[in-house]
Amino acid sequence: MTPLLLSAYTATTCLGQSVDALRTALRDGRSGLAPCAFETVRLDTWIGEVPAVDAVRLPETLADYDCRNNRLTLLGLEADGFADRVRAAIARHGRDRVGVFLGTSTAGILQTELAYRRRDPQTGELPADFIYRTTHNSFSLAEFTRAYFGLEGIAMAISTACSSSAKVFAAAARQLALGSIDAAVVGGVDTLCLTTLYGFASLELTSPQPCRPYDAARDGISVGEGAAFALLERADRAAAGDVLLLGAGESSDAYHMSSPHPEGLGARLAMEAALRSAGLAPGDIDYINLHGTSTPANDAAEGRAVGALFGDRVPCSSTKGATGHTLGAAGAVEAVICALALTDGLLPGSPGTATLDPDIRLDYLLQARAGTPRRALSNSFGFGGSNCALVFGAAA
């Protein structure tokens, strides 16, 4: 693919509401995870909760969109001056030439979960103030974002579980390549809800401790939430050191709904496709941000796929011990982490991981260290066997 410029980017996670908060935490090896005290959830697990989401107020004209997920969307859009950069891009290109491509796994389903507690005891009806379209529906965050910026062009939500907000980069890149748009707001937003917390617990995939990706004793994920965005434009605006999207690769496991292919075959196909799309060889990659959810099966499968393609030569880490697994936002959060690796020469470590799994032979970073990466690859894999890998690079 023709490289694209990330002309602005931002991430809001349990580590804070800015790229700077993320940078500092990654450099210091700090985790934002805490014992679960979300809503009325009673589970022995740790979570990555974004502070003060419920204090966010949506503009009055967009009040129908009010729910935790759109509050976090707004919090994330307004971080790091990102919204102003979007407005400047709209001024440059026009309201119908800036697309919206956002990923989510559950959007505002929490709103529906809460509404089900307030059903009419006689009729069973849901409360009158519950609006499905603008809160629960998977498109709600993209529709909200489109309305917030007054956009009039292409918009879509991508919902492929935990690969969602990696795949938005690929979808937007296609439309940019074909000239359908001149810029794209890409990203992902997912918020804590009962469905995912109790759901992952039902699969025995949540850890009672802070998650420990690639650790020999890893025993599950820590569910997190987050909102991360990038503004994609053609690279003729790029200056030296700017971050570029160089390639994207997508594949399917075609194996099982909730377990990865044991050899990581689909993961490997996605990474190979991303390298092909970037016109690069495995030896050109200097850092890999692993999907690394911290379940025994996921990390083993990904480790095999990465080892088969890259050997043990490329420094790599999962940052989910810092942010938690932000599910449908993970691809975008970790794209921003790759951008930080490139701009700051920061190779993040893996908070929580103590003893590496001896069966996985990678150059896995327990602690952050300085480096000079020129190109970084990010993996994102989801339920249903949905895989996506992205390659980022620093402009020469």
Binding site: D96, S105, I109, T112, E113, Y116, R119, E125, L126, F130, I131, Y132, R133, N137, S138, F139, S140, A142, E143, R146, E152, G153, I154, A155, M156, A157, I158, S159, T160, A161, K167, A171, A173, R174, Q175, A177, L178, S180, L194, T195, Y198, G199, F200, S202, L203, E250, S251, S252, D253, A254, H256, M257, S258, L265, G266, G382, F383, G384, G385, S386
Partner: protein, 266 residues
């Protein structure tokens, strides 16, 4: 858009109320037989392994039936095809059951219910049934989901030169969600889109943005389906394809952006 997004349609699948398959839909859209209001009939998914077949929900049956109809019509090999699934919602019954249980004191939901709750559940079962490891997109744009799916599928055809199967589908929610989202029944449209013309090609389409109003259907029953089942927003396009008629079909997308689809039959 600088140039319209184009592709060749090599196969069509359709399923909805009173529309059991594409040949019947074609006859209805040509005016050769009347549309009769009947619940959507979902065939059993013979392609799935026994364990998955038992768990197959309405949306899984719906997408396999419509998708495989388009694949079979084109004589294509489903195991090689990239796919784009466009749905306004996920499995409504599963969602209702989850939310109902999570509102009680017993929140120990079933793991199968949870894995089937993801928006890409039907796409995941498609992968298991067809063994296709090609890219699989799953998107949502509420009532505009067909248009969003068409735009991404055409982009994959044009940018990646990859034959891509678009499956747009929707299902109904049970009570009490039905009062908040009143999609009446299941409906799906599948288009097999190819970058090059082949002996199977039915038509060439080119899609560009417009601000024109969407075409409506003369038959009130069909117009009702177009307005209430997002996948069937494609009906004006299907009507041109059914009649083998060159010209433009205008489809609803996201106001003020609509899609003008220029159809050139082979």
């Amino acid at each position: 858009m600088s140039a319209p997004l184009t592709a060749w349609i090599d196969g069509i699948g359709c399923l909805g109320p009173g529309l059991p398959d594409w040949p019947t839909t074609q006859a209805v859209l040509r005016g050769e037989r009347p549309w009769v209001a009947e619940p959507t009939v979902l065939p059993a998914p013979a392609m799935l392994p026994a364990a998955e077949r038992r768990r197959a929900s309405r949306v899984v049956k719906l997408t396999l039936a419509a998708g495989m109809e388009a694949v079979a019509a084109a004589g294509a090999d489903a195991s090689t095809l990239a796919t784009v699934f466009a749905a306004s919602g996920a499995d409504g019954y599963n969602c209702h059951a989850l939310c109902e249980q999570l509102a009680t004191d017993d929140r120990q939901i079933s793991p199968t219910r949870f894995t089937n709750s993801v928006h890409n559940a039907a796409a995941g079962y498609w992968g298991i049934a067809t063994r296709s490891m090609a890219p699989c997109q799953v998107l949502c744009a509420y009532d505009a989901s067909f248009g969003a799916g068409l735009l991404d599928a055409l982009a994959q055809v044009a940018a990646d030169r990859q034959t891509t199967l678009l499956i747009a589908y929707d299902s109904e929610y049970p009570t009490p969600m039905h009062a908040k989202r009143d999609t009446p029944d299941c409906g799906a449209v599948a288009l097999l889109l190819a970058p090059e013309r082949s002996e199977r090609s039915l038509a060439r389409i080119g899609v560009a943005p417009t601000r024109d109003a969407a075409d409506r259907l003369a038959d009130p029953g069909l117009e009702g389906l177009r307005g209430t089942i997002p996948a069937l927003r494609a009906l004006p396009l299907l009507a041109r394809l059914a009649r083998g008629e060159a010209g433009r079909a205008c489809l609803d997308y996201l106001p003020p952006m609509q899609l003008a689809v220029d159809v050139a039959p082979c």
